[in-house]
Subunit: 111 residues, 2 copies
DNA sequence: CTGGAGTGATTGACATGCCAAGCAGGGCGT
DNA sequence: ACGCCCTGCTTGGCATGTCAATCACTCCAG
């Protein structure tokens, strides 16, 4: 699945395995194996492939089954963002989440 | 960097290494090593951690340096998420944003 | 004080990612 | 026919991801 997608993208870009290898600094044998699904590439490899093929990393991740399609726009985006926000202190995070949840809960009750 | 972020998220969620281990089906020693930056986890591991901690996979990828900084989710991720949240009314959105901004501002002043 | 039950960390072994070297075949010019 | 350069693929081995077993520590009940 992922491998096939990468191979297709490479061919669309008219690149040989060795050319892609040069761009990504990943050996061509390994690229071959990844494209045929014999190996699950590491994060670093996946990223450099995405860059070289001018494919948004997100799309590759989606192909890899990492992002479940609409996840980024899903219901939990706000909670996730708050939790990950480095500009908030721990106490602030907790408080903000509590407020947010109470809002959502209120709206749910009203229908 | 990535490891520290995962550790912080785990502690926010009030989980021990073994509890997270149970949720993710990843051994607790390995989680420990990942959190301390001794190993770069595979894609599969990263995703199961993201799922278990209810963190958007994208946010984890950004922390992992996968998404180059502001490509998708930068400092404004929280604001964006709040604005896009369909579960909030307009008034709630405004209020939440105001609280959020005041937090960030406070922290900036303190240095 | 002693003994569980919880916490995170270390270690040694096995599985897998990844690469350098080399192989087999297909065009194309001489 | 040869030889060259290109293509993708196979293989052996080192580096790294991952786990089972175990350790040291803290805390609290008996």
């Amino acid at each position: 699945m992922l491998g096939g997608f990468i191979r297709a993208q490479r061919q669309v870009a008219n690149l040989s395995l060795r050319q892609l290898s040069a761009l990504t600094e990943i050996s061509n044998p390994y690229l071959s194996q990844v494209e045929r699904g014999l190996h699950e590439p590491s994060i670093r490899v996946l990223k450099s492939i995405a860059d070289a093929l001018n494919v948004s990393a997100e799309i590759l991740f989606e192909q890899a089954g990492l992002i479940t399609g609409t996840e980024k726009l899903g219901d939990e985006a706000t909670e996730s963002a708050i939790r990950a926000d480095q500009r908030l202190t721990e106490a602030q995070r907790t408080a903000l989440l509590a407020v947010y949840r109470s809002y959502v809960e209120d709206n749910r009750e009203e229908g």
